[in-house]
Amino acid sequence: MPDSSSSPSSTCTSPMAPGSAPAGPIDPRYSRIDLGDITQHNIKLLKKVNAVVFPVVYHAKFYTDVLEAGELAKLAFYNDIVVGAVCCRIDIEPATGLRKLYIMTLGCLAPYRRLGIGTAMLKHVMDYVERDGQFDGVFLHVQINNESAIQFYRKFGFDIVGTKEQYYSRIEPADAHVLEKRLTSQATTGGTPHPPPLVNGNNPKDDPDSHKTNNGHEREH
């Protein structure tokens, strides 16, 4: 699948599992969740996860950036097997100058949902943000019909702060909600879409083309 040239956006699946209710809890001795670093040796595993979880091919740039991202990009291990990943970046809103953490991807392989892996990853991100103390908010994009994902993020204090029409180019519905958890009292931008497209990286004066050649990515469902 060719890369879409849509604006940079986040892709987060629901870490919730589908299907019937579990027959009971899994013995915690056999259900270990850890987060680990992404290195040049195992980056292929991140690609595998993304390829299965998101209907999007991420560009090479996405992966080279991830290698530099430190705590902002993590693999999730379940019983020592890579089953999920979270990748974030720091964004400065050009209009307001607000410093926010943007969750680019957060996802987990289907058989491993509803086991607390998404929670572990999101918790890691929120802990990072709290330790840093300089963030105005954390936000992401979710496809509008993805109820379980929206519910999941609501549990952590996220709210729908806007909706972007035609955010996704090849999947239906193409609209995405913007979910945000505000950490400081910021000037509300209201329920309308965010003004200008977000630019990758800290510097809004980056090469204006960068977001085109960048990781355009979309949401499933």
Partner: protein, 883 residues
């Protein structure tokens, strides 16, 4: 390198004081590796016309030059020095050292002996001599030299030890023990003295080897407080008690050992013995007990599986499986594989696992009770896939592994196993593709990297394999060279195999010879241990080392390389390589112009590429030389003689291929005499050499190898061809040869003609494809007529009727033999028919189903290993996971 003099005062005696002082400085410079300065002093003496021909100085100059890598000059000077002073022990010693550095040990021993004639009690020379003698296993000579050293230096520890050991190696236990005991008495014991402990354990080892078991036990108990290696002490004590039928006491010892380490399988085996557990039931009882004692230990869970059967096996294996699947134990199948020897176990395991699978798929439990982690399903699929792979049910194995990959595409083991399944299907390129998939998922994992390289070699992709190895070899040097330097023999033997299959016989031989050289090198490396182990008193290990080196070439790596080399030499004897082979045989006359143009373009491109490669090689060569030079500079002590460079072009045109083959065979005849293939290959060589008595010898030895049934197909092939040879050439044999042959072949040929014997062989083994294929081949050898060829082809064509031997390997071997014309022109014509009947049996194997080739995944197209493969982008359907 040892110095040629030491405690001796006679050196340079013919020189006046000033020159004598200079001479001593040469020696000193030599010892301190200041070779340039040494040469300076030598020059000072030699420029004085009075001493221009001073023998010892000339010899020392030569020895110094040798250390600077100027070997030819070194020999000139040393020989000249010796001629001028034949009565100087220094000159002889120097000559010996020079020969030694050149690995001419026999010559060196002679020189040392000459030196000792002129200076009988020179310790240094005696020591050097003893080292060479033990290296060359001149055990009698070693004993004498050690005796002299002992007499000259009775106060030194090494004198005693060496003296004792020289008797031990000659199996004179009494004398060894007497010397050791005398020596032990002189020893002062420190509180914790590991060396002394080692000495005692060595002494105990000698007592055991002498056969005096109770003496050994007594000795062990007497010195117990001084022995540091407690685990070894207990194991030895226990096994000695067992040998002395004191099982009750032995039992207590092994119970203690298990308490020390409840995972040591050996201790349990001993405990079984000591408890007199001779039936499965008694053995099981022991493990039930120990499972209670050590609930967390793995060994008492696993070991009873070896003895249990039926329902009992099922009851034991179920919790074992559940635990492993829950926990995620990747080698679970490897762990349980030995149990598959019993087909009942195989059926039970299959039934249990398929039931689990049904439940896991339905509700995430093994048996409807507790919920298991999703990884349990994954490991279960992985296990079952291996199970079906083991049973040669490749379609099911693939289906299960694909399900596992769809479940969790991030588990590397799954891809490894998928590659392995394709290896078993004999689709080598596809196997290499999946191994590469695994490899890119964890570049830091050397095991997978090596596997991947090996699979590439199996697919004959030598270049790609070398590239793969580059991830872990030293930079700056071509990987191939680096691998040789590191004695990476699995790579080299696999590489030889790939070259052999590719028909690059010279390259294959080069790899085989490199492996052979490693073995020579390992034997050379022993040299350092003679002094080291004696000094460190690690005598048990030292004796083990000496014994290992004695049979070093029985190692599978040598066997593999030797077999490959012999096969290649046989091939080169049968079909020598002529220079025309290299010429392009494309018929250009019958091509239409556009094709011709394409061809020319192709050739041009190839030529350009070849030129580029040659340039690259040149640069590499230059860099290498530079590297070597700088190394030479740094490494003044260049004592390894430069090996002859191996040129594949030359190697594949040997003057005497059978003679070369024999060189590889001889160590095997000596050290791998219990293996059938050794003698079969020997037969192949002698058959071509037309040596009836040696053929007979090989056949007789083959018949005597253990576990070789008299109807072994390989052996049958040898006997039939031998009989045919004897029948046809009887007239030309000298009378004594004929007599021996008549007498000795009587039992082998059993008064039957070759044709009759082959017929009998075929009818007696008509259920086995392996046997029938060889029998059919022999019937063509005996009767090459078209009718006979047709009959042979018919015999092997109906695969359905065989009960054994119908596997991918046998069938592909037969396929290739048909192709080569082993079954005559009828066989070649019948190739496609045979392929089709194989295709029915093995629908996944590309060799039999060439139409599969298009769908298969191969690595050949991937240029950059960093770039994702086409397979990556194919899996982007939206997963149907959300409600």
């Amino acid at each position: 390198m040892p110095s040629p003099h030491s405690a001796n005062t006679a050196t340079g005696s013919s020189l006046p004081p000033k020159e004598n002082a200079q001479f001593k400085r040469i020696l000193k410079c030599y010892e301190q590796k200041q070779y340039k300065n040494g040469l300076k002093f030598a020059k000072q003496i030699l420029t004085n016309p009075k001493f221009a021909e001073h023998g010892e100085t000339l010899a020392m100059k030569g020895l110094t030059l040798n250390c600077l890598g100027r070997k030819d000059e070194a020999y000139d000077y040393v020989r000249r020095g010796l001629r001028n002073d034949l009565k100087s022990h220094v000159c002889w010693h120097v000559y010996g050292l020079l020969q030694r550095s050149d690995k001419k040990y026999d010559e060196a021993i002679k020189c040392y002996r000459n030196a000792l004639k002129w200076d009988k009690e020179n310790i240094q020379i005696l020591r050097d001599l003893s080292l060479l003698q033990i290296q060359m296993r001149d055990l009698e000579g070693y004993k004498e030299t050690r005796y002299q050293l002992f007499q000259l230096r009775p106060t030194q520890r090494a004198s005693w030890i060496g003296f004792a050991m020289s008797y031990h190696l000659l199996n004179d236990y009494d004398m060894t023990l007497k010397i050791l005991e005398e020596f032990r008495k002189t020893q002062q014991k420190a509180a914790y003295d590991y060396e002394h402990s080692e000495l005692l354990l060595y002494q105990n080892m000698v007592i055991q080897e002498s056969g005096d078991i109770s003496g050994a036990l007594e000795h062990l108990m007497k010195y117990e407080p001084q022995i540091c290696d407690q685990a070894h002490f207990l194991t030895t004590k226990g096994s000695l008690l067992l040998k002395l039928d004191r099982a009750g006491e032995a039992k207590a010892i092994f119970e203690e050992l298990i308490q020390r380490n409840p995972e040591n399988h050996e201790s349990y085996k001993f405990l079984e013995q000591a408890s007199g557990a001779d039936t499965p039931a008694k053995k099981l009882a022991i493990y039930v007990k120990y499972r209670g004692f050590y609930p967390k230990a793995q060994a008492p869970q696993r070991l009873p599986l070896n003895y249990a059967e039926g329902q009992e096996f099922r009851d034991l294996v179920e919790p074992y499986l559940k635990k492993a699947l829950r926990k995620g134990v990747p080698p679970l199948f490897v762990d349980l594989k030995p149990l598959y020897k019993n087909p009942d176990n195989c059926a039970i395991l299959e039934e249990i696992c398929t039931t689990y699978l049904k439940h896991m798929r339905a509700n995430g439990t093994f048996d409807g009770k507790t919920r298991e982690p999703p990884t349990a399903l994954l490991w279960l699929l992985y296990y079952l896939s291996q199970h079906y792979d083991y049973k040669s049910d490749y379609a099911t194995a693939l289906q299960l592994i694909d399900e596992a990959i769809a479940h969790t595409p991030t588990l590397i083991e799954l891809f490894l196993h998928k590659g392995k399944i394709y290896k078993h299907i004999d689709n080598r390129e596809e196997a290499a593709y999946w191994m590469d998939e695994a490899q890119v998922m964890d570049r830091a994992d050397r095991y997978i990297n090596c596997k991947s390289a090996k699979y590439l070699l199996r697919a004959n992709q030598v270049k790609e394999a070398e590239e793969m190895c580059k991830w872990f070899t030293r930079g700056g040097v071509p990987a191939m060279e680096s691998l040789n330097e590191m004695q990476c023999m699995w790579f080299q033997t696999e590489c030889a195999g790939a070259f052999e299959r590719l028909g690059k016989y010279g390259e294959a031989l080069k790899k085989c010879i490199e492996v052979d050289r490693h073995f020579t090198e390992i034997i050379e490396d022993q040299f350092d241990f003679h002094t080291y182990c004696m000094r460190k008193l690690t005598l048990r290990s030292y004796v083990d080392l000496l014994r290992l080196e004695d049979v070093l070439r029985s190692h599978p790596f040598y066997e593999k390389a030797a077999f490959c080399a012999i096969r290649v030499y046989l091939r080169l004897f049968d079909k020598p390589i002529t220079d025309d082979d290299k010429l392009n045989e494309i018929d250009t006359e019958n091509m239409d112009p556009s094709e011709l143009k394409k061809l020319r373009n192709k050739q041009k491109k190839a030529k350009r590429k070849a030129e580029l490669e040659a340039q690259e090689m040149q640069q590499l060569q230059a860099r290498k030389e530079l590297h070597n030079k700088s190394q030479k500079k740094n490494d003044d002590e260049l004592d390894a003689p430069q090996k002859d460079e191996l040129y594949p072009d030359k190697l594949e045109r040997p003057e005497d291929p059978l003679g070369e083959a024999l060189k590889f065979l001889e160590p095997l005849q000596l050290l791998a005499a219990d293996r059938l293939s050794t003698h079969v290959l020997a037969f192949e060589i002698y058959f071509r050499k037309r040596k009836p008595l040696l053929m007979l010898q090989s056949i007789k030895r083959a018949l005597n190898t253990p576990n070789t049934p008299p109807n072994d197909p390989q052996l049958h092939s040898c006997v039939i061809r031998f009989q045919k040879f004897v029948d046809e050439n009887r007239q030309s044999f000298p009378a004594p040869v004929s007599q021996v042959l008549d007498r000795e072949t009587q039992s082998i040929f059993a008064d039957k003609s070759a044709v009759q014997r082959n017929r009998d062989f075929l009818s007696a083994n008509d259920q086995s494809l392996n046997h029938v294929a060889v029998g059919a081949e022999m019937s063509v050898v005996l009767d090459g007529s078209e009718a006979s060829q047709k009959a042979a082809l018919k015999l092997i064509g109906e695969l359905e009727r065989f009960k054994t031997g119908v596997d991918i390997k046998t069938c592909s071997d037969i396929f290739h033999k048909l192709e080569e014309g082993v079954y005559g022109s009828v066989g070649v014509a019948g190739l496609d028919g045979f392929r089709q009947s194989c295709a029915q049996q093995f629908p996944l194997t590309i060799l039999f189903n060439p139409e599969l080739k298009k769908q298969s995944k191969t690595t050949t197209t991937s240029a950059d290993p960093n770039e994702p493969k086409s397979g990556d982008n194919s899996s982007h359907e939206v997963p149907d996971s959300e409600p």
